[in-house]
């Protein structure tokens, strides 16, 4: 029954989405308030129906209704409840439904929270959202129906891949999709603005909160994915440049550029064309990512369904959405008002360079991911692009950008001088130099790049702090200075400092990681990093749907002992094995233990790793997301379109 309700709800949602695509757009063109208001009602209804469909699917999963094919393939009666629920999005059809759910909810949010938008503009935005929604609802209904029936229904299901039976599955995909789909709002805003022919600071003010919210979710989603891979895959890798990982990184890089470009547009009315282009491209990269994951065009450990027919459908959506938007851009962007002027040394230039570097980084990831496919079109040779490529191409472009990050907030708007900004970055420069000298002194010459990495991290962190220091130092009343500092400034400081932590973690992991692989017997003690690990005992264990071999260790760090456990699990329903690593976190780095096969003679293969500063990578990412969240809390985002301030005589307007 739930299946039928859900299916019907989806069909209704598709019909409404189609209407939502047309009616408000016509209404905006004619200036008809009733037709424009229909857009808001349609968006709400669409969200309601898709929510209903999602609830129906979730119900079927939790109740293990094996007559639904999706449920039968992805869940099992012995699976814990949390994973039965999260299994809704652990497969292609269900995750697509989650995508559409978030899309429709965002559309409804534009309808409810868009009171400060011009009616015609809001109507057009909702129409574009409706088009995207309709396209994906059609994709669901015609190629990936989550409510497809299995007849006869099997007695039990095929179980979710044990690697996915993890808390990570409960949070990682929803956060990612909030990010991907959140950028659709910026896309709709951009297309609507191109249709209206008007892009100004007010537009940027409307768009920025949505972009920031999506960006925060995507940052958290990517960080979570990295953490999940770290503790699940058994060897402590945290980024693999896998095509699906890259599919999440590309919208993130472009979204970061969009965020900063919209800032310039809002404050100074400059970089108009660039901001619109970025808004279109960011969501387009989300779409291309969806295409990559679900079409089978590239191999990946993450790839869902390998079905070229679905790929063709998504490609058609890309042609319509991205192609349409870019064609509109080509036609209309030249007639948009030209942006404000700015000098060669100014914050606008800094942020324009920021755009450029981030787009180049996106190009690196894009080319690396898709070049095997591109090359197939003109060559019979087949190549692979893996981590060695990115190591050579990503870092050289990222490093100048990271240097620029400290200069950016220190530059004045419109007109500044190199000497002026050079004076303002004195302290970060000192910190950087000190860190570099220390690094080179402590470590052998072969590690010059590592010392530079740490120096860069110091540059970023002190540079972030310097922003606050400059603000507070020149004010007489320290407490007042702290209270009157705009919330968004705190957001900026947190985010840029987080970036510094991330750079430190990445540098340490690249330069100073170490590992050992050996057969250990109970009682044996092995040194790893600055710690030592002793194997105490090997025992058997059981879980709700698995049996396991448990290895208990004692970790000795400078005299302090603590227990460490690593498991190898066997899941009988799917006949697969997973390794649960034992991880002992510390500020200076993690000790990571993963067991392998038991050997004849009582020993067991043990892999020991020392991971210096690896947690700083995710702490940095979380700090960045926190910075974004703090910025969102800034009152200025919740005020409507900019109104010219009426200045009482004798008072200057606040900066």
């Amino acid at each position: 029954m739930a299946g039928e309700i859900g299916h019907f709800a989806l069909i209704l949602a598709l019909v409404i989405a189609c209407l939502q695509s047309l009616v408000p757009m016509i209404g905006a063109g004619r200036g008809d308030p009733a037709l424009m208001a229909f857009g808001r009602a349609a968006a709400t209804l669409q969200a309601a129906f898709v929510t209903c469909a999602f609830a129906a699917l979730a119900f079927a999963f939790v109740q293990t209704d094996f007559s639904l094919a999706a449920v039968a393939s992805n869940t099992h009666s012995t699976m814990p409840l949390a994973y039965r629920f999260a299994g809704v999005w652990g497969n292609h059809e269900g995750s697509m439904l989650l995508w559409v759910l978030i899309l429709s909810v965002f559309g409804a949010a534009i309808a409810w929270y868009g009171d400060n938008l011009r009616d015609s503009f809001q109507a057009r935005v909702l129409a574009v959202q409706g088009m995207i929604g309709a396209a994906f609802l059609a994709f669901l209904l015609f190629t990936s129906n989550p409510f497809a029936r299995l007849s006869p229904a099997p007695l039990d299901g095929a179980e979710l891949n044990p690697l996915l039976q993890d808390p990570g599955l409960v949070i990682h995909p929803p956060l990612l999709y909030l990010g991907y789909v959140g950028f659709s709002v910026a896309f709709s805003f951009a297309v609507a603005a191109l249709i209206e022919g008007r892009v100004d600071a007010a537009w940027a003010r409307w768009v920025r909160p949505w972009v920031l919210a999506a960006w925060v979710c995507l940052t958290c989603g990517i960080a979570l994915g990295s953490i999940w891979a770290y503790y699940t895959l058994g060897w402590g890798g945290w980024w693999f440049w896998d095509p699906v990982e890259n599919a999440s990184l590309m919208p993130w890089l472009m979204g970061t550029a969009l965020l900063h470009s919209a800032l310039v547009l809002e404050r100074r009315g400059a970089l108009i064309g660039w901001t619109i282009l970025l808004a279109i491209l960011t969501f387009s990269l989300s779409l291309i990512g969806t295409f990559l994951v679900r079409s089978g065009i590239l191999t990946s450990v993450h790839a869902f369904a390998v079905d070229p027919r679905r790929g063709v459908f998504i490609l058609a959506i890309i042609v319509g959405a991205t192609g349409g938007a870019l064609a509109l851009f080509a036609a209309r962007a030249p007639v948009l008002a030209s942006g404000a002027l700015f000098g060669r040394v100014s914050r606008e230039t800094g942020l324009a360079l920021n755009n450029l570097f981030l787009m180049a980084l996106t190009a690196v990831v894009f080319l690396g991911t898709f070049y095997p496919v591109i090359m197939e079109a003109f060559s019979t040779d087949k190549i692979s692009v893996g981590p060695p490529y990115y190591a050579l191409t990503f870092a050289p472009i990222a490093v100048p950008l990271l240097v620029l990050v400290v200069f950016g907030p220190m530059l004045m708007w419109k007109r500044d001088t190199l000497a002026g900004v050079g004076a303002r970055v004195r302290w970060p420069l000192v910190a950087c130099g000190a860190a570099l000298a220390l690094g080179l002194a402590l470590f052998p010459v072969a590690r010059v790049t590592a010392a530079l990495g740490i120096a860069l991290a110091a540059w970023l962190v002190v540079g972030a702090g310097a922003i606050l220091a400059r603000r507070w130092r020149h004010s007489g009343d320290f407490v007042r200075a702290v209270r009157t500092t705009p919330t968004a400034t705190y957001g900026l400081v947190l985010a840029h400092a987080g970036l510094g932590l991330l750079v430190a973690g990445v540098t340490a992991m690249s330069a100073w990681q170490s590992s050992q692989v050996l057969v250990m017997h109970p009682g044996q003690r092995v040194a790893i990093g600055r710690a030592a690990v002793t194997l105490d005992a090997l025992t058997q264990g059981t879980g709700p749907n698995f049996v396991s071999l448990i290895a208990s260790f004692t970790l000795d760090r400078g005299g302090r002992e603590s227990p460490l456990v690593s498991e190898r699990r066997f899941y009988p329903a799917s006949r697969t094995q997973t390794t649960q690593a034992g991880i002992a976190p510390a500020l200076a780095g993690n000790t990571y233990v993963a067991i392998g096969e038991a050997q004849d003679g009582g020993g067991i293969v043990v892999r020991l790793y020392d991971h210096p500063l690896v947690d700083w990578i995710w702490a940095g990412a979380v700090l960045m997301a926190l910075g974004g969240t703090v910025s969102l809390a800034d009152r200025r985002f919740r005020i409507g379109a900019a109104r010219p301030a009426v200045l009482p005589a004798g008072r200057l307007a606040p900066a």
Binding site: F329, A330, A333, A377
Partner: protein, 179 residues
């Protein structure tokens, strides 16, 4: 701002979509063979048991006829699917040599006893070294070797009737007619 620059993104997208559409028709995990038109790498392998002699690369130049070299294993899930096809091909007169890859000879013998033996000669490659020299990544795979001992084609996956009628048989006919 020169207007045409605004059109670059949509043009790039058009190229990209064309590339993707083309890519959808390909299998990303299928590797082209590096040995096409090159001689078989040298090898000499024993057979499955004392009774069968095994074969070497040199054996492919003796006899002046093109042959099929089929890589199989008793643990291979897809091999029983192509086995009837191989029996048919062998019955039709084409010599098929079998390479038992990463397998135990006793198990392979039992498997062949059960399913039928299409192979003129069988070699055992338990360490998979010869397989790696041939660029084998899985089973079943089949090589078309001409009378001079050169590899002319590699079939990845089971040989279906369509593969035989459409690709392999015409190729073998051509190779027989060749000098």
């Amino acid at each position: 701002m020169t207007r045409w620059l605004y059109g670059v993104p949509v043009l790039l997208l058009a190229v990209l979509v064309a590339v993707f559409a083309h890519g959808l028709t390909k299998d990303p995990s299928r590797i082209p063979s590096t040995l096409i038109d090159r001689p078989l790498p040298p090898f000499a392998l024993a057979g499955l048991d004392a009774a069968s002699p095994g074969f070497a690369a040199a054996d492919f130049t003796a006899g002046h006829e093109p042959r099929l070299l089929n890589v199989f294993a008793s643990w291979c899930a897809a091999c029983p699917v192509e086995h009837p096809m191989l029996l048919k091909i062998a019955a039709g007169g084409t010599p098929v040599y079998g390479l038992d890859w990463k397998d135990e000879p006793a198990k392979a013998s039992a498997w062949l006893a059960q399913l039928g033996n299409p192979y003129r000669r069988i070699a055992s490659d338990p360490t998979a070294r010869t397989g790696i020299d041939l660029g084998v990544t899985g089973v079943p795979e089949t090589f078309v070797v001409d009378r001079h001992g050169r590899i002319r084609y590699k079939q990845v996956g089971p040989i279906t009737a369509a593969d035989w009628e459409g690709t392999l048989r015409p190729m073998l006919d051509r190779l027989r007619a060749e000098a």
